[in-house]
């Protein structure tokens, strides 16, 4: 791991004593250091640092256009950064099993494949036997219990149905890292409730490192182990609020004092940041 130690980067204070050669805190899955990203004239990130803990759910909350999707794309390795480093426990993004629900879910499914084949698609890259692949699919279908006709093509589906397919495709590989970019934006009330419960269960059980972007503050706090608040561009971390109420968290959780405290705090920070000139 330490082979990737970049020369000249100061070890952050948070590194614990027992591993002083580490330049990231223990339990970190994804380490971002000195990340810089510009689009033409606009600077999105300038020397941005972040540690994403392993097996936790991190909610990202920030204003439109602050660079949340951009950040995820850079971590996922599909958008080059101008400078800086992004490491997965010393590995590369390529070597990690990633699930990604794109914000732009409609353009990310394959219209030439039926929904079922879209969901099955990533399994072939996992070195699984046919039987294993099928059992993955069966398990997924079972746990989702979808009433959706998966023999349709995406363009025959409603927006929400396409988004659901996109979510199922991201989950079927049992990802090590899961990126959810506004994954419930088009789903109906019932489905959102169902998925919040289901995802918590699955992700915590499998200790999947998750990055969730949501503009619904209730949702962001409810699902999070950490709520990451971002500022406007050039983007910094405004605050990183831990939220470690026991799971499963349900609608009832939203009326607990801990939840309200965290939510209020998040809102304060967010509004302060957004309203800065």
């Amino acid at each position: 791991m330490s082979t990737h130690l970049p020369i000249g980067t100061a070890a952050p204070g948070a590194a614990d004593a027992g591993a002083s050669h580490r330049w990231y805190p223990k339990g970190t899955h994804i380490t971002i250091r000195g990340l810089t990203k510009r689009f033409q004239d606009a600077t999105i990130y300038d020397n941005f640092d972040l540690d994403i803990p392993k097996g936790k759910i991190v909610s990202v909350f920030g204003p439109n256009g602050c660079g949340k999707s951009t950040l995820i794309n850079m971590i996922a390795g599909i958008l080059p950064c101008d400078s800086g480093q992004i490491l997965f426990e010393g590995k590369e993004a390529r070597e990690t099993r990633i699930g990604y629900v794109f914000q732009n879910y409609r353009e990310a499914v394959f219209p030439w494949l039926r929904a079922i084949d879209n969901i099955r698609y990533p399994l072939q890259y996992l070195n699984l036997s046919k039987a294993q692949q099928q059992s993955r699919m069966d398990r997924l279908m079972e746990s989702f219990d979808v009433k959706l006709d998966l023999q349709r093509y995406p363009y025959q589906m409603s927006g929400g149905q396409q988004q659901l397919v996109s979510i199922m495709r991201a989950l079927v590989v049992d990802p090590e890292v899961l990126f959810l970019d506004e994954p419930f934006s088009a789903l109906d009330y019932e489905m959102v409730m169902f998925l919040r419960e289901r995802l918590q269960k699955v992700l915590v059980e499998r200790r999947t490192t998750t990055l969730l972007v949501s503009h619904d503050l209730d949702e962001a706090v409810l699902l999070a182990d950490e709520v990451l608040l971002l500022t406007k561009r050039p983007t910094r971390v405004a605050e990183n609020l831990p939220f470690d109420v026991a799971r499963p968290r349900t609608a009832d959780t939203t009326i607990t004092p801990a939840f309200i405290a965290t939510k209020t705090r998040a809102l304060d920070v967010f509004q302060r940041e957004v309203r800065k000139p």
Binding site: N73, A76, G77, I78, R94, R97, I98, Y100, F102, N104, E107, A108, V109, F110, P111, W112, Y121, P122, Y125, L126, Y153, P154, Y155, R169, V173
Partner: protein, 258 residues
């Protein structure tokens, strides 16, 4: 409703015939008004009679068949070479840019100007005709496929990449399908070009059969009905081959435009 629907579908089937009818009508009109001397432009009926006689009793079918075989062979060859190459080139802009010159250069050079070169390389036999037609068709296919690949939208490629697809799988699973409409345009251009070049080659590179040679002979001895019958056969062949791809595309690219 179902009846009207069926009648409608029937009408749709027949629609291409209107086009043929209009074309022949125009021809008959020009002929009837004697705007063009009848010796130079026979009536559609004469040409049709020549076509029919040629097919039924004459050698037209043999020539027709020869041209079909040559066209299909050279098109097949072109397809096999140009589609994979086009995908690879299109997905690698640097390489494409450096060979773009050659592609545009040869696309803009008449096949007949290339004959001497191909004759040198492939001799005066069958091989030259097929090679030069395959070359021309391959350029068109290559150009279209590479263009389709280059201008394919990126989002789905990125999605596949994130899902762990290796580069070549992204090519085959996403880019190729994303650029399918352009690939079909390429194939339709390619098949027409292959046919055109085969006919020109039959005209100008020594040949004892084929529609091109037939057109040339008919022209030399001023048998205009037979010349137009042969031209008609060539055009018909082109239309039918295009139709195959048209239907294939409708079937296959069901997601197009959505």
């Amino acid at each position: 409703m179902s009846l009207a629907h069926r009648a409608n579908a029937f009408g749709a089937r027949l629609r291409p015939l209107f086009g043929i009818a209009a074309l022949i009508g125009l021809w008959a009109f020009v002929h009837a008004t004697r705007a063009v001397d009848p010796v130079l432009l026979p009536s559609p009926l004469e040409a049709l009679a020549a076509f029919w006689n040629g097919l039924a009793h004459g050698t037209l079918w043999g020539d027709f068949f020869k041209t079909i075989v040559r066209t299909v062979t050279s098109f097949g060859l072109a397809l096999v070479i140009a589609v994979p190459l086009g995908i690879v080139l299109g997905s690698n802009e640097k390489i494409y840019e450096s060979i773009e010159f050659a592609i545009d250069f040869f696309r803009s050079t008449p096949a007949s100007a290339m004959f001497p070169l191909f004759l040198v390389l492939f001799g005066v036999g069958e091989a030259t005709k097929i090679a030069v037609a395959a070359f021309g068709a391959a350029l068109a296919i290559l150009f279209n496929v590479a263009y389709g690949v280059m201008s394919a939208r990126k989002q789905r490629q990125l999605a596949a990449k994130v899902m762990g697809a290796p580069r070549w799988r992204v090519l085959t699973d996403v880019i190729l399908l994303e650029s399918m409409p352009q690939v079909f345009v390429g194939m339709r251009s390619g098949v027409s070009i292959a046919l055109v070049i085969v006919i020109v080659a039959e005209m100008f590179i020594g040949s004892t059969d084929g529609l091109g040679q037939r057109i040339m002979n008919a022209q030399t001895i001023f048998d205009m009905p037979d010349m137009y019958a042969s031209i008609f056969a060539a055009g018909l062949l082109g239309y039918v081959m295009n139709l195959v791809f048209l239907v294939a595309e409708r079937r296959f690219v069901h997601w197009g435009g959505k």
